[in-house]
Every structure is written in structure tokens, then in C-alpha cells.
């Protein structure tokens, strides 16, 4: 067998082992070592002198002291601390009062709360379940269509994957060797564009079909401006300030992502103390969850590093690249095809696996098609957050179903999510047609 054929076999076994459900990090490592031993085999060499063992330790150490990944546990810790600080109730309440003049005000307030909270935590499930218990019943009580209400909660909860500081973009940056700072700048406009289009959509529904999102009774929840400002000052501004200072410090180059993330985690702890919700139990839980999630992400890097270098050494990358370039696709077809493949991969796989294992296959082809890797990365992030939202997987829908009254059917939640999936698609088209939506801010800030 020729070397590239061996590489393809290696990839085939990997896909098979993933599909039957073995933890991917270990499969990658074992395949990397096994096929690497074959690739670097030299007769008359001692077993452990094979180059693959050197590669394995060297690559592992590269992950261990990779300063691009250091911010991952810090952002996770910040998220877990914010999640446990019990600030959502008041945040939602004050935003709801502040926005009460807007059509479909409850839905808009839900989206705004989700966007802010999801940005701070970055964990889809937590946002959807918490808002599913808090905002969803209130919308139903106010006479909202259950599908619309469900779609708003699910779509809002998924925003945290995309809007910086998102873990997904850190991982993509490490894989594509792009600075996380630039990626964050690139994702800002598309992220807020998406959140804004969600809001415009529910406002339009509120105006055109008020029976689906009836306005609140005039006097309900009316407070004086002073009271409202006090409420906002207690709930909205502290969290907004935390996020803005973390993002601002990163984007304006005042601090490295690691430093900003550390200050963010510290600030989240201060926030919990200020709200009198800080407990040792909460701190311990946050630490342990941070350790587990970081281990989950970073061990994938450990496994994939050796796999990827052996795969490339055997000529696998070149072969796939030549094959795709040989198809003579035009850039649009290539982009559609690659995004469609990534979307479908999002059904069985988690975003970590997709970005660490499969996205690198596409990356070397981008220059040929004239696609900026930053644009591609933000498209991938938007694309993968859709996997949480759209059937058949739609984890967000299942999270919401788990906390909603039995009368709300899963099919209703699914159909409620669909308009938001279409909005995501429209956003992706806008991003492709006007790459400036992505590139404008990084170019403005970093030239």
C-alpha cells in the first residue's frame, strides 16, 4: 500500500471508531502511535528508538505549555462562577421593565438577557435551562405562542458559542494558528448582527401578528425612571461592565486574552460576593467543572497532535487537498460544500471534535479558493451553533423540553426554532457576500 493510502486507512479507522462511540482523544492517540510506528519504521532500530515516541512526548508537551490555550480554563471558570452567582432573575426582570415599550417586549428582553448571560457563561445548556424556567413560563402566561417563546429561548441560549469571549474561537484559533484577538474582533460584528436580527424578527412578529406575542397590559410592572435605573444598576450594569472590560481589554490590545480572562474570572467571583451568592460549595463546583471541561478539550489536542503529524507525514493532507482541488470547484461551491459537511458532522459529533479533527482538513485549501481563514472560522462557529438549534440534534430543544410543562411538545419547540435557523442562514449569506462584516473590525483595530 502506498503511504497516502495508509493515511486514508488511518482516517477511515478513526471515523469508524468515532462512530461506534469510543472517547475520541484516546482513539486519536493510539492510531497516531500505531500508524506512526509504521511510518517511521527503520530496520535494525530498537523498538523505542522509533521517531513516533519522540513525536508523542514532544507534541504532548507542546499542548502542555501552549499559551494560546491557557485562557480556556479561565473563561470556563468565569462562566461557571457567573452561572452560580444567581443574577439571572433580576437581570431579566430589569431588562423586561426597561424594554416594556417595545413590541413583543418579553421576547426581546429574553433575547437580550440570553445574549448577555450566554456571552458571560458560554454554556448553551445552562442558559437554556435557566431561561426555560424563568422566561418561558412568563411568556406563556402572557399569552405568547408557545412555539415563538420556545424558539426565542433556544436561539438566545446558543448565542454564547459565537459571541466572544467564546471557547470555540480559542480552539479554532489554536488549530488554524490565527491570533485569538483577531478572531474575537472578527466575530463581534457577525455575533451582534445575528442577535440583532433575532430581535428584529420578534419585534416584527409583535407588530404584524400581535396575537402570537400580545403586548403586556399597560400598567403592569410600571415603575418610575429612578427605580428602573436602580434596578439596572444592580443587575444589568455590573455584568455588562464585566463583559465589556474583558472584551475591551482584549480587543484594544491592553491585555492578552489570558490576562483578560483571569481578570474576568476574578471579577465573576467579586460579582458573586457582591450579590451575596458566593459559597464555598459554588467555588468548589466551579473549580471541579473547570478542571473536567478543560481536560476534555485539551486531551483532544494531545491526541490529535500526534495523529495529525503522522497523517501529514504519510501524505494524507496533500492527497485530500489534491483530490478537492482536482474537482475544480469554484469558491462558492467549495464554501457551501465544506459548510454543509461541517453542518452534517454536527449531528453525531460535538464541536470540539469537529474543530480539532475535521476543520484542519479544510484549512490548507482556503488560500487556493481565496477564502480568509478568519471568515471561514466565524462561519464555522455560526454553523456549529446551528447544530444546537436545528433538528435532528437540537440539544437546546431537549434542554428546554426537560424544564418546560408537559403540555409543550418537542415538535412545537423544534418548529419554534426553525425561523431562527433561517435567520442564521441569512446571516451566513450576508457574511459571505459582504466579507467586510467579518474583516472590518480586525482591520480597523490591527490594520
Amino acid at each position: 500500500m502506498s503511504d497516502p493510502a495508509v493515511a486514508l486507512t488511518m482516517l477511515g479507522i478513526l471515523v469508524f471508531a468515532i462512530m461506534i462511540g469510543f472517547p475520541v482523544a484516546f482513539t486519536l492517540m493510539a492510531l497516531g502511535v500505531g500508524f506512526g510506528y509504521y511510518a517511521y519504521f527503520q530496520p535494525q532500530q530498537y523498538f523505542f528508538d522509533n521517531r513516533v515516541f519522540f513525536l508523542l512526548t514532544q507534541n504532548t508537551f507542546t499542548v502542555l505549555n501552549n499559551d494560546a490555550l491557557v485562557s480556556i480554563p479561565l473563561f470556563l471558570l468565569m462562566g461557571y462562577l457567573v452561572e452560580r452567582a444567581n443574577i439571572l432573575d433580576n437581570l431579566f426582570k430589569s431588562l423586561q421593565i426597561a424594554l416594556r415599550g417595545v413590541p413583543a417586549s418579553l421576547a426581546v428582553a429574553t433575547l437580550a438577557t440570553c445574549a448577555l448571560f450566554a456571552t458571560a457563561t458560554g454554556i448553551v445548556g445552562a442558559v437554556v435551562t435557566l431561561m426555560g424556567m424563568l422566561a418561558f413560563p412568563q411568556m406563556l402566561k402572557a399569552g405568547y405562542d408557545s412555539r415563538l417563546a420556545a424558539g426565542v429561548v433556544c436561539a438566545g441560549g446558543c448565542l454564547g458559542i459565537l459571541i466572544p469571549p467564546s471557547i470555540m474561537l480559542i480552539v479554532y484559533g489554536a488549530i488554524a494558528s490565527i491570533s485569538v484577538v483577531k478572531l474575537y474582533a472578527a466575530a463581534m460584528v457577525p455575533g451582534f448582527l445575528l442577535a440583532g436580527m433575532y430581535m428584529l424578527y420578534v419585534i416584527a412578529v409583535g407588530i404584524l401578528k400581535p396575537q402570537l406575542a400580545p403586548p403586556l397590559p399597560k400598567d403592569e410592572g410600571r415603575v418610575s425612571t429612578g427605580e428602573l435605573l436602580t434596578m439596572l444598576a444592580k443587575s444589568f450594569f455590573p455584568l455588562a461592565l464585566l463583559i465589556l472590560s474583558v472584551l475591551g481589554a482584549i480587543l484594544f490590545g491592553l491585555a492578552t486574552p489570558t490576562e483578560a480572562a483571569a481578570v474576568g474570572a476574578f471579577g465573576a467571583g467579586v460579582l458573586a460576593v457582591a450579590y451575596r451568592t458566593f459559597t464555598w460549595q459554588g467555588l468548589r463546583e466551579s473549580m471541579f467543572l473547570t478542571a473536567r471541561t478543560s481536560a476534555m478539550v485539551c486531551w483532544l489536542f494531545v491526541g490529535s497532535a500526534t495523529f495529525a503529524s503522522v497523517f501529514a507525514y504519510l501524505g494524507g493532507n496533500v492527497m485530500i487537498k489534491d483530490f478537492v482541488l482536482g474537482l475544480d470547484l469554484n469558491p462558492i461551491t467549495f464554501l457551501l460544500l465544506s459548510q454543509a459537511i461541517i453542518f452534517v458532522l454536527g449531528w453525531p459529533l460535538e464541536w470540539t471534535e469537529i474543530i480539532i479533527i475535521f476543520v484542519p482538513i479544510f484549512l490548507p485549501m482556503l488560500p487556493h479558493f481565496g477564502i480568509d481563514p478568519m471568515v471561514f472560522g466565524v462561519l464555522v462557529a455560526i454553523n456549529l451553533q446551528t447544530a444546537f438549534l436545528s433538528p435532528p440534534m437540537a440539544m437546546a430543544a431537549y434542554y428546554l423540553k426537560g424544564v418546560s410543562p408537559p403540555s409543550v411538545l418537542l415538535t412545537q419547540i423544534f418548529s419554534g426554532c426553525m425561523p431562527f435557523v433561517y435567520i442564521v442562514l441569512v446571516t451566513m449569506v450576508i457574511m459571505y457576500v459582504f466579507p467586510q462584516t467579518t474583516l472590518w473590525l480586525p482591520e480597523l483595530l490591527y490594520g
Binding site: L31, R84, A265, A291, V403
Partner: protein, 203 residues
């Protein structure tokens, strides 16, 4: 007997994982201190950068076995979860032999040469004048690998127990993601309401 061994290994992984998870706190505080002295006092430390990745590396690497003991490493379970317990255990046992032990064993053995070499010369970081020792991080590769290996043995014993009894033995639980806590709570409440309703009907 098998239960006892599994329990002991789980406990060990958990204790070490919990201990190293506090690296996240040291990482936070160390970096915040550096931010303060650099930006406010204009007097940067010589050790904060090295500390940050030492803490990060130790955190995730040593928590690997703990994560495995909680079933926390990503896997695609779209087919796996549909199978009966015995089939799951058979497949998993085979895959542990094929895809777990060879890679991790290589990591432990090759990592030992790498780590002990660095330890012998007391290798220090070249990034900063503080000369932070870097060999402990290299030494963690065989140590963390060995821990992972041990947890792998516990997982294999779990498969054996499942093949014997026809169902998976219970896992230890300490802390769950918030959404899982909430979902479990909601399911419990719903079940309680359902029993109450049946009781009322019966009355």
C-alpha cells in the same frame, strides 16, 4: 472485590483531579496579580508567564483521569446509546484494548524517558529570568499517563462487571453541570407530581 478495586481507583483519580483543579484558582490569582503589578505599579513579575502555563498544563493533564472516571471525555454516542448494556460493554472492552492502552502505554514509557531526562538536569524555563523549573511539567507526562492508565483499568473492570451482571455498575458522582442538575430536578418533580396524581385517583 472488583467493585472495591474500581471504587479505590475512582477515589484516587477524583482526589488527584480535585487537588489539581485548584490550579485554576492559582492561575487566576497569579495572572491577576501580574496584571495589577504590571499595569498599576508598572513593575511586572518575572514568573507570572511561566506560572500561567505550568498551572494550566498541570490542571488539564492531571484532571484527565478524573474526567475519564466521570465519563467526561467526548464521544459520539448516537449508536452506542441504543445498544443493550452487554453489547456496550463488549464493544467498549475491545476498544479499550485496541485504542486505549497502546497509546497511553506509549505515552507513559516514552514520557518517562523525556521527563526523567529533564529532571536529571533540573531543566528550567528559558522564557523568563526567574528560571522557573520546567521539568516538573515534563515529568507530569508519565505521571498523568500512568494515572490515566490506572483509570483505564478501572473502566475495563467496569466492562467486566457489566458483562457478568448484565448492567452497568453505578458511577460515583460529585458535581454535575448546572443544566444536568436542573434537568434531574425537573424530572424528579414531574415524577413526584405523577405519583401524587395516581394516588389521588386511587383514593
Amino acid at each position: 472485590m472488583l467493585q472495591r478495586i474500581i471504587y479505590t481507583i475512582d477515589q484516587l483519580s477524583k482526589t488527584i483531579g480535585h487537588a489539581f483543579s485548584w490550579c485554576a484558582l492559582m492561575l487566576t490569582l497569579g495572572t491577576c496579580y501580574e496584571v495589577f503589578v504590571r499595569y498599576v505599579l508598572n513593575d511586572p513579575t518575572s514568573w507570572a508567564f511561566d506560572l500561567s502555563y505550568l498551572m494550566y498544563g498541570a490542571l488539564f493533564f492531571m484532571a484527565g483521569a478524573y474526567t475519564l472516571s466521570r465519563g467526561g471525555h467526548v464521544r459520539a454516542d448516537m449508536f452506542y446509546r441504543l445498544w443493550p448494556d452487554r453489547t456496550q460493554a463488549t464493544v467498549e472492552l475491545t476498544l479499550y484494548v485496541l485504542f486505549f492502552f497502546p497509546g497511553i502505554l506509549a505515552l507513559v514509557i516514552a514520557g518517562w524517558g523525556y521527563g526523567s531526562g529533564a529532571m536529571r538536569i533540573h531543566e528550567v524555563s528559558v522564557n523568563s529570568p526567574a528560571g522557573m523549573p520546567i521539568w516538573p511539567l515534563k515529568m507530569l507526562i508519565p505521571v498523568g499517563g500512568a494515572l490515566m492508565m490506572m483509570q483505564g483499568v478501572a473502566e475495563v473492570l467496569r466492562c467486566v462487571l457489566c458483562l457478568r451482571d448484565g448492567r452497568w455498575p453505578a458511577r460515583l458522582h460529585d458535581v454535575e453541570e448546572l443544566e444536568n442538575q436542573i434537568l434531574a430536578e425537573a424530572a424528579r418533580k414531574r415524577a413526584a407530581e405523577a405519583t401524587e396524581a395516581t394516588a389521588k385517583e386511587a383514593a
